[in-house]
Symmetry: C2
Subunit: 430 residues, 2 copies
């Protein structure tokens, strides 16, 4: 932990810097994987599954039978929990559906926007230590709500060639169209290029290791869109004198356990709360199953004592945290001052885990300072907003002259002429 | 023109292919320019202005005096036209401001979203033959509406070191914060890195040549966002028997005059209209000032006769045009069938130029098939949507168990503990 009391303003830019990731240059490796998947399709995926994960499977696609059987592998308790989370996530994302409002900008000129689902989307869910079935909910629910026609999912199989039951169960519950046993960069390549089994998609969502991240970036060369740029997860907590150190420590650690590159920042205006939270963090850390990861993350993290909440908010806006927790009772007045953040948790009972799993908000959020210029995943991430316009004859009469003058001033005479031929014809008719 | 009557379905994928751009590998050149701007700031910009455009200027920043004087350089007629366009664009974009709706997803769990402006945005406006002051309106108006704090503009000076008056006038009218005389990749580098005069920004908007496009892509390595991937402009027209060939031809040519890499597609279900439109296009082309560019563009373009409007819409959805014109009277029923398009123009009097300049919709749109997975520029492009949540003690009681079960199933015990410490404390109080 890096502890800092009342740092000078000049020191802030250094304090808000993210740990620089020593990423290998993966472009060549990724390009090779894309080439192999393009050339050999499914067989490339089977070969790469074997090569990278040591798993031999016969079929890339998860069978109907596997999907049917999964019901029996999940406890009723977990089923109920997933269902409550699904209900909340559905409710919150459904509220983002906007009505089309037609605007008559000039008499006879009517403009509006309509949403259209991105027709084919791909979801990547990593394997590894944490089976992120919650991410299946976060990505499949908005895709379903807007009516994406194809929603496919790729995730690596385990050593026995099976997919984690909770991931499979959630995918089934969310009516994902097809599920495939393939992970890593090759899965992203398959969703980009298509294979005999896997359809190519228009947009790829989901987290992953550095190979997956590099592959998603590379996929953009093939005109595929991605959810957002990647980075390690982070939380910033602002605690006043009403904060509860035990809660703050638990929230800091729930972020820190994500991985050794996670970052947590604790800002407080109250020295007692500040010191107690540091103590509590060390205490809770000891009994945590993933404490090795959390410990490493904490080493990169800052505990900073500041003079006022306003100052803390300024610091936070400069840092632009993925998750921001206002650990205070009187948070209302500070909401308008939040300018850069991914998702904000208000008050002592709004822990980050609530948003990670079940409150209804999306947990796919901008990290690494991207909260300055990107939003988290929402319904918007799965649609295009198409503009429409209809000009009546009268409408074009009202607007035509303006268009002609502007087009001529830009030296674009065919643009002008598209109006002139229409106005001329009207005059002839009159 | 490539004329095709009733092509087989199997031929469609070939017909919707964009002309492949022979882009040079610019990465190294762009990286060098970024390095030079990083090292030498303003001086690098002055040197590169001289090197690439042969222009020597003393100061990068447009002075107050230049801005004041521009009023006298613009005709009243053009001023009025720009004002009408500004009113309409403002009206349409203001209608996109959405209300915050708070959703109680579970009793005691309240979630909502709020918009926050991206604080610092940069607009690039190219020089060259067409002074695109209309693009200033399209980008500065939504930035103003959402309240971006800094809105800067870069555009190259002419041989005399001046900025095109119409661009300057429009920038002034839209209250752009600062205007700079610099163009090309170096302008993008300056907005990314900042110089003594030019502030670095969080998102860069605007069109440009291949150097600007490559520089915008490169800027993303510095965590700067960009408006959307670039590509040449395009229009697809669907004409039924009520279409007016003279209008269709004028619309095709207004797209074709953008540049030799523009693409126009004409689909019709009526052979008479089809043939007449081809004739008209050739006729109007002859008298066009920019007919060399338009002629080249037409060579890459398709005129295709099809059996039904439904079939034409399917073709259009596969092509995913930037601009789609339904040149027919009875367009209402076809709107729901449009799945991929940037902006749609309905009926015989809705010419593309209307949307390019003054109807109110934005003209910064996805090209090159990106209408399958990207929206055009709108108010959304200038904001982040931040999610907020507040759980009361009761709210966490109602949701806590679900979070604990899910976190445990993902193996994330600190996530679980963040809930447990809060529930435990409640129990102790009871």
């Amino acid at each position: 932990m890096k502890i800092n009391k009342y740092p000078q303003r000049e020191a802030w830019p250094e304090l808000v810097k993210r740990p620089v990731l020593q990423r290998e240059k993966l472009t060549e490796l990724i390009a090779d994987i894309f080439k192999e998947v393009e050339r050999n399709g499914n067989q490339a995926l089977l070969d790469l599954n074997k090569k990278f994960d040591g798993v031999e499977i016969k079929s890339i696609k998860v069978s109907e039978k596997e999907i049917e059987n999964v019901e029996s592998l999940i406890s009723n308790e977990l089923k109920d929990a997933i269902q409550q989370a699904k209900n909340n996530i559905t409710k919150f994302h459904a509220s983002q559906i906007t009505e089309t409002e037609k605007i008559e900008t000039t008499k006879g000129v009517v403009c509006w926007r309509e949403n259209r689902a991105i027709e084919k989307v791909g979801i990547y869910i990593p394997g590894g230590t944490a089976p992120l079935f919650s991410t299946v909910l976060m990505l499949a629910i908005p895709a379903q709500l807007v009516g994406c026609k194809e929603i496919i999912l790729c995730t690596p199989p385990d050593k026995n060639g099976n997919i984690n039951p909770a991931i499979l169960y959630t995918a089934k519950l969310c009516e994902i169209t097809e599920i495939f046993k393939t992970g890593g960069a090759q899965a992203v390549a398959a969703m980009t290029l298509g294979t005999e089994s896997i359809p190519n998609v228009y947009k790829i969502f989901g987290p992953g290791n550095q190979y997956v991240v590099a592959a998603k970036e590379f996929a953009q060369n093939y005109n595929v869109a991605i959810d957002m740029p990647a980075g390690p997860s982070e939380v910033l907590i602002i605690a006043d004198e009403k904060a509860i150190p035990e809660f703050c420590a638990a929230d800091l650690l729930s972020q820190a356990e994500h991985g050794s590159d996670s970052q947590v920042i604790f800002l407080s205006t109250d020295e007692t709360i500040f010191n107690k939270t540091i103590e509590e963090t060390e205490k809770q850390l000891k009994v945590l199953p993933r404490n090795e990861l959390a410990k490493e993350a904490l080493e990169n993290s800052h505990f900073i004592l500041l003079n006022t909440i306003d100052e803390a908010l300024e610091f936070s806006n400069l840092y632009a945290p993925e998750h921001l927790i206002l650990a205070m009772e009187d948070f209302e007045n500070y909401i308008p001052k939040i300018r850069n953040a991914g998702s904000v948790f208000l008050g002592n009972y709004s822990c980050e885990s609530a948003g990670d799993y079940a409150s209804g908000t999306n947990h796919t959020l901008p990290t690494n300072g991207f909260a300055k210029n990107y939003s988290g995943v929402s319904l918007d991430s799965f649609v295009k907003k198409i503009t429409f316009q209809n000009l009546s004859q009268k409408g074009l009469q009202n607007l035509g002259k303006t268009i002609e003058i502007m087009a001529e001033a830009e030296g674009l005479f065919a643009h002008k002429n598209a109006v002139s031929v229409r106005l001329k014809q009207e005059n002839e008719r009159i």
